[in-house]
């Protein structure tokens, strides 16, 4: 099984049936039987041992014959597969700046939402993506070191805890995997956003703003411009490969900060954030 996630091609060598079914559900037409292009990563998800299959079953993720994580309960199989795929990208691609962030695009202009605590990044991704924005990524902004454009990734959104039922309530037609309970991030479910044919039309986009949303009860949705220095620190702090790329990352983030606006937004209603960003950046 080959999965084309846009920037990378994964070859899935083996995985439990339930994971394969979820992959089918989440990736659909991005799953190809044969490809003329070479795959970047050969991955698998395997049961730990024979006895363990029956007694507290566990699964382990592999890139080739190496496994980056300890085994996890088999009930978390699908999230483990998704997190393993994230790891493959973050741990091996040092040709681009990779920031832990959601990326949403409107009118070919991209807004990067770094994953600061309390940002509600994934809920925001799901809401925006199902309300007319293009989802380039829920998890990582892949930024070209020269053009500073952000690249589209074809991946589902990973929702946690209460946001699962919230999104189901807002968008009753949405396509979800089952809920994996008690993972290290709490209860987790994945949500399909794009269809692959539509995704294929997504082009690398210029970043216009870096937005740090913060969900607060009883607040009016308001933007605050933050200093370039604070923006730099927050962006660098959320970059997966800042310390590997070293001075290249420093230069890239500096250029990115200079060519974009950085805004804090306190919100309690996502539709207000949508309106605000659309008017603020004439999207």
């Amino acid at each position: 099984m080959l999965i084309d996630v846009g920037q990378y091609l994964f070859r899935v060598n083996s995985a439990p049936l339930i994971v394969k079914n979820n992959l089918d559900l989440m990736y659909g037409d991005a799953i190809i039987k044969k490809s003329l292009a070479p795959a970047d990563f050969t991955i698998s998800l395997k049961h730990d041992s024979l006895l363990r299959r029956f007694l507290k079953p566990q699964v382990t993720f592999y890139l080739g014959s190496n496994s980056p994580f300890k085994p996890l309960p088999a009930s978390q199989s699908y999230p483990v597969m998704e997190w393993g795929m994230n790891w493959c990208i973050a741990a091996t691609d040092f040709n681009r700046l990779i920031v832990h962030a959601a990326v949403l695009v409107k009118n070919n202009k991209a807004i990067v939402f770094p994953a600061t605590p309390g940002s509600g990044k994934s809920t925001l991704s799901a809401y925006f993506a199902l309300s007319g924005w293009k989802l380039y990524s829920d998890e990582m902004a892949i930024i070209d070191l020269e053009t500073l454009k952000v690249m589209p990734l074809f991946r589902p959104v990973c929702l946690k805890n209460e946001s699962i039922s919230l999104v189901k309530q807002w968008f009753p037609e949405s396509i979800f995997t089952g809920i994996a309970k008690d993972t290290q991030k709490g209860d987790v479910a994945h949500l399909k956003i794009n269809n692959f044919a539509e995704f294929k039309t997504f082009m690398p986009a210029d970043v216009v703003a870096i937005v740090f949303p913060k969900y607060q009860k009883n607040t009016k949705t308001e933007p605050y411009k933050i200093s370039k220095i604070a923006g730099f620190e927050k962006l660098a702090g959320n970059s997966f490969n800042y310390n590997i790329l070293g001075s290249t990352a420093f230069d890239t983030i500096q250029r990115l900060i200079e060519s974009t606006q950085q805004v804090d937004i306190n919100y309690n209603d996502l539709s207000d954030v949508d309106d605000l960003l659309t008017s603020e950046f004439t999207l």
Partner: protein, 366 residues
């Protein structure tokens, strides 16, 4: 492509910088294997030096280049870490020698370009080992928590103390007082090994080139774990090619005779010829007459080590390779420990390994 074909492409690429003429799709396996054996970045720098990077398809280039970025960052980190270590030990008046990877990086030998490693190896005199450990502990270097069995293994039988790590940066340090286990009965005279050491940047001590190569060889041959064997052979070959002078050959042969490693030197040089057609001076070859007539040694060379050191990746591993790896596992242990210690040791290790196979590796983690 079958395993043998992939293997041949890998060998030609790694040792002879020959870029395979294959379809784009077939590069998947080549890159996969290079990643598994940690040679993506080394290939990048070797091809760069030969000005052959432009001949690579974009797919291969991007993966090699990315690995090169990572390794160059690691080399910066190691240089920085060595500086701090040197300061700590200088302050405690302890002289030390940087071995293996850190040594290559400090002296900037050709094989250091693109090399990735998991720890820093440092050699101090046996009498200094506990004061070195204490000095390091004062600077945030801690000893890894080990099982009681493993801890005793290090303290009683080993040539190094349990690995230390820096609590801020996670860097791992292996502090040695010898290059071989005392229990093997082949402990070396460290004074002889370090006699001609070099000082780099007026600061760091590293072994002379001949002693470096000999240490690499001893580490490769007298070892139960050969999972990085292919990379180690490349190290040895690259170091020799960089220092192919009569003085080097004179020093390494005399050092190996004095320290008792002629068989290991013969094995490693013969393997280098088999893998990479390394040119070895005629007079050196002649000096190995005894080894050339040693049937057991040649059996080990042709049927055990030749296969065991091939890339450790299921994508190229054949049955011959797997059998050879298992023989080396036993041989490596046998060379390190007398039987009365080895048998209980292997029984303990296999008990835990069987237990882990049944229950899963991390079942008993606390």
């Amino acid at each position: 492509m079958n395993k043998q074909t992939i293997y041949i492409y890998i060998e030609n690429l790694v040792f002879h910088n020959e870029i395979p003429t294959i379809e784009l799709k077939q590069w998947e396996k080549i890159i996969h294997v290079l990643r598994e054996i940690n040679l993506l970045a080394a290939c990048y720098y070797r091809l760069e030096k030969e000005e052959k990077l432009t001949l690579l398809p974009l797919f291969a280039l991007k993966h090699m280049k990315s690995a090169a970025v990572y390794s160059s960052r690691q080399s910066e980190q190691v240089t920085f870490e060595c500086k701090l270590l040197q300061e700590i030990l200088d302050a405690a008046n302890i002289s030390s020698v940087f071995l293996k990877g850190a040594g290559y990086t400090l002296r900037k030998s050709k094989n250091s370009k693109g090399r990735v490693y998991s720890d820093i190896d440092l050699l101090v005199a046996k009498s200094d080992i506990s004061s070195a450990e204490k000095a390091l502990e004062k600077h945030a270097w801690c000893t890894k928590k080990l099982s009681e069995y493993d801890n005793n293994y290090y303290r009683e039988w080993s040539h190094e103390i349990p690995p230390m790590f820096n609590i801020h940066r996670g860097t791992v340090l292996d502090l040695h007082h010898n290059i071989l286990l005392p229990i093997s009965g082949r402990e070396v005279n460290v004074e002889l090994l370090t006699k001609k050491s070099h000082v780099i940047d007026d600061t760091y001590t590293v072994l002379s080139y001949a002693a470096t190569v000999l240490h690499s060889i001893v580490h490769l041959i007298i070892n139960e774990d050969v999972s990085n064997g292919y990379r180690d052979v490349l190290d040895i070959i690259t170091l020799i090619e960089e220092n192919d002078t009569p003085e080097f050959w004179q020093e390494i042969t005399s050092l190996s005779s004095t320290l008792g490693f002629n068989n290991e030197l013969y094995l490693a040089l013969s393997l280098s010829v088999k893998y990479a057609n390394l040119t070895i001076p005629e007079n050196i070859l002649l000096s190995f007459e005894e080894q050339q007539n040693n049937r057991k040694l040649n059996f080990l060379l042709n049927y055990v080590y030749y296969f065991a050191l091939q890339p450790h990746s299921p994508a190229v591993q054949t049955l011959k390779h797997k059998v050879a790896v298992n023989i080396v596992y036993l041989l490596g242990h046998l060379q390190k420990m007398p039987l009365k210690i080895l048998i209980p040791h292997l029984l303990t290790k296999s008990f835990f390994s069987i237990r882990d196979q049944i229950f899963g590796k991390h079942h008993f983690d606390t």
